[in-house]
Symmetry: C2
DNA sequence: ATTTAGCACTCGAAGACCTTGAGTGCTAAG
DNA sequence: CTTAGCACTCAAGGTCTTCGAGTGCTAAAT
């Protein structure tokens, strides 16, 4: 069931206005801001219909109308047109993102802060899910006796490392041998397939004494497992307090409390599935649809960036339900495209991105 | 000029009460909460004196008294007694901090979140100032053609690395040679002494073609410089909204805006100098004394942890001026001690911290 | 010379009450 | 089906009042 012509236009106009003003939209003010060939009375009738259909809500009898979650849903699904960014905006974003260093973490931090700055809302970026990427190299570099840097190179071109301790009687030569054995045994295995069991069996018939091997194995294992760890970068939480809907401290607190709970948002993004845009690029959750405690006053817009065909991560924007969806979607998509390009070029070693 | 006996006790009682209740302290309620052998009238006279002396303020005529910045200053300087943590608390903190991985960043993140959780305020941790540490090792490890991991090992036992690109016609052997030359030329130099000039001259009479050398030099340089970069970890900003003094959105916003401005707090900590506690361990800035925009409703308690004799970093707690200073100081100091031990043991490779 | 009881005074907080006007829904005519 | 007109509703904001917590001062008591 979709909306008929005039009602559709009216609903769109109402939501557009509300997004801009944050004030309940009245029949008259709607008239003055748009060119309907209608009287306010007719408009009122239509608005009353739209309310009955569940697209609008009325804070109280003598107030204008406010979009309901269902109203916003209709809006993002079939009413709004995604505007495209001005050249100036594109250039600005490009500048910021392209100034990233080559590290993935830096790229994502940068993308997140750019996105938050551009939209004025909260932005998040989640590191890619590397479970299904496979191990390409594993090097162990002795920093000093007992202290080793484990460098993990994954198929997607991602490099992670971790400083670990090993027994300090191990010589650099022994370490080199063990490290090679482990690399040889594990190379080509995907992260999700590497467990303490597989890793132990993979190296078990190497000519290295078990005593030494076992001590190093475990550290190598934790280093590899850590590469799989999802990290979330969040930016711009402070901007929430500038929005009229969050002048109420308790509402803001609800959101902050959830966002600051370790792992909640990361876990959420990791499990995302649901309504995508028709073109499959972005995804919008409105109010209750975000099934997270205390987030029902917000909307959450997300998209997926690609490291390679299989390996993906997410970026997203969290703002009030009354967010400027069309701007957010276009900006987020642009940032996503830049991240994709960056990662692609990164792996191909070409220059001049953008 | 320091405070005489009775006034001193009264001031202390008032501030203790205010810290606990967040309500202006009245003569009667003060009487009921403490055992003074005095009437409320006498108390009122004393309180009036204390106000005239600048230690107290009155929000309005018919309200109780509230400590002024000067009052808090007197309190932290000579009134409060630092309480010591219960065994349970100590154990709790120890558990959390000792679960840190060996990476410095992880240790600081962990310390910061522990500190915020324990105090209920905002906590910060700044990575150590490594300017004066010197280069011990510089290794460049070829990940794949054109992609190199630069590992920088510093005197203080700190290891940093950075992924860089180099021209992809360089072979692993060439890279190895160049890297060794750079290491040889720079080893023992402190970070602040390493500039593009010194680095260039340090390697200029090695038998490697300039064309190759120069391309790698710059990347090595940026990797080294990056090791010097200060990183700030902050935790618990959301807790601010639970405090009665920040129910006012605009106050909270002031603080958030400043804290979220990139580099502001890090720069502030980096430049810290001023009133230390008698024993030189911690430092308290109250209200205006924090010379940062919008922070005049807060106090900032900081201390310094040691990586080695010369290399230090900071941790701190930001809360309302009405913070529980004695608890904060003792908790922060305990965390500092744990960090110190961790870092020391880390460099000595001994186990069982705490 | 302090201390204290007593009392008048102040002033914010909270509630009652009123007014205003933006906005609606309904009705009856176009 | 649309619209003009009107009665109705109700939050926001202003004014007034009350209430009481808390003070400062004065004069007596120690």
């Amino acid at each position: 069931m979709t909306l008929e012509g005039r009602k559709k236009n009216i609903l769109q106009a109402i939501i557009d206005d509300y997004i801009e003003t944050a004030e309940p939209v009245a029949s008259k003010s709607l008239l003055s801001r748009h060119q309907f060939n209608l009287s306010s009375a007719t408009l009122r009738n239509e608005m009353s219909d739209l309310e009955q259909m569940g697209y609008l809500e009325q804070p109280h009898t003598s107030a204008g109308r406010v979009p309901s979650d269902k109203g916003y849903r209709e809006y993002v699904d079939s009413l709004m047109r995604i505007d495209h960014l001005s050249d100036v905006q594109e250039e600005e974003i490009r500048q910021r993102i392209n100034s990233s260093f080559s590290e993935l973490a830096q790229l994502l931090k940068n993308a997140s802060s750019t996105l938050s700055e551009q939209t004025g809302y909260i932005s998040v970026a989640l590191t890619p899910r590397l479970r299904s990427s496979y191990l390409k190299q594993l090097k162990m570099m002795m920093i000093e006796p007992g202290k080793v840097l484990v460098v993990v190179v994954l198929s997607a071109g991602v490099v992670k490392d971790k400083l670990v301790r090993i027994p300090d009687f191990l010589t650099a030569e022994q370490l080199f041998e063990v490290s090679n054995a482990i690399e040889l045994g594990l190379c080509g295995l995907s992260l999700e397939d590497i467990t303490l069991v597989t890793i132990t069996s993979a190296v078990k018939d190497t000519p290295i004494p078990d005593a030494i091997l076992n001590q190093v194995l475990f550290e190598a294992y934790t280093a590899i497992k850590q590469a799989d760890h999802l990290e979330l970068y969040m930016d711009g939480s402070h901007r929430l307090l500038s929005l009229p809907e969050f002048r109420d401290v308790d509402r803001a607190k609800n959101v902050f409390d959830t966002l600051s709970r370790d792992g909640i948002v990361a876990g959420y993004l990791d499990n995302l599935s649901g309504r995508k845009a028709p073109d499959g690029t972005y995804m919008i959750r409105i109010g209750q649809e975000i099934a997270l405690q205390g987030m029902s006053d917000c909307s959450f817009v997300t998209t997926t960036y690609n490291v390679d065909d299989k390996i993906v991560g997410n970026i997203g924007v969290i703002g009030p339900k009354r967010m400027d969806y069309s701007k957010v979607v276009s900006q987020m998509n642009f940032v996503r495209v830049l991240i994709d390009k960056h990662l692609k070029n990164d792996n191909n070693r070409t220059e001049d991105i953008g």
